[in-house]
């Protein structure tokens, strides 16, 4: 239980850092760390395959997308950071306060629920479920990947006047 609390605290902290940090690059790194912590939590919640996916895709692929986007849009200089810091602080100081208050309030709620556990043992093999039972989702995934490919081709295409 304690381990879980630590992991969740770490998750929230890294998310907070992601949101608060000034440099975009650090923010992206923070996101990757958040993903990694989430993956650990997923391991603990008996979902190893999803965790591996989360780790590889979110901490890997999405991180890469962000890094490339950030490099294209340009990194900012240190002077700009100093200048921005004050402005940002003015907008973001409220966030940790809200998070802490929310955390305190939520932990005070006594939650109890009875969940619908399966009567018979159910198929819990991800591969079987994904490949045999959710063909429609797979079809959707294929189409989305195709659409994503079109999107990348269309939106990332070199501009003629450049």
């Amino acid at each position: 239980m304690t381990i879980n609390i630590i992991i969740i605290t770490a998750l929230v902290t890294s998310a907070l850092w992601t949101a608060m940090t000034v440099r975009l690059l650090r923010s992206a790194v923070g996101l990757a760390i958040t993903s990694a912590i989430l993956a650990i939590l997923m391991f603990r919640l008996c979902s190893p395959i999803a965790a591996v996916f989360e780790l590889s895709v979110c901490a890997g692929l999405i991180f890469a997308i962000f890094i490339s986007a950030i490099t294209v849009t340009g990194r900012i200089t240190n002077e700009q950071i100093v200048l921005k810091k004050k402005l940002r602080l003015r907008r973001f100081w409220l966030l940790p306060v809200i998070v802490i208050i929310a955390a305190i309030v939520l932990t005070q709620i006594h939650f109890h629920a009875i969940f619908n556990l399966p009567a018979q043992p159910v198929e819990n093999n991800v591969k079987i479920i994904l490949w045999n039972m959710r063909h429609l989702d797979l079809l959707g995934q294929v189409v989305i990947l195709l659409a994503g490919a079109f999107g990348v081709v269309i939106l990332f295409k070199e501009w003629k006047n450049d």
Partner: protein, 106 residues
């Protein structure tokens, strides 16, 4: 057993809700388009967590993982498209300031 489960569920939910708050705040307050997308990404993390959690407490981890994997794949594509849009905006405006993306009013 159920009590433990209940407690774990609630704890993880609290974590999810806090991350959700952070994500929303990030989207609302930031002046940077990329950070807005990062905020969205945080929100998606929450949802992934919720799905896995729901699978775990009801003993259907297989289904939940299948859903989570699908979600992750879709999420990547959305992020890629959003990044593409941001890049195009950058090429127009030479900046990714949110405040310059308010031309369509009223």
């Amino acid at each position: 057993m159920t009590n433990d489960m209940s407690q774990l569920f609630w704890m993880c939910s609290i974590g999810g809700i806090l991350v959700f708050i952070i994500g929303i705040y990030c989207i609302l307050v930031t002046f940077n388009l990329i950070r807005a997308i990062i905020g969205l990404e945080l929100l998606t993390k929450t949802v992934t967590l919720f799905l896995i959690l729901a699978g775990y407490v009801t003993g259907r981890t297989g289904l939940a993982q299948a859903l989570a994997i699908t979600l992750i794949v879709i999420e990547v594509v959305v992020i890629a498209i959003a990044a593409g849009v941001i890049l195009c905006v950058f090429r127009h405006n030479k900046t990714i300031d949110v405040k310059l993306l308010r031309n369509i009013k009223g």
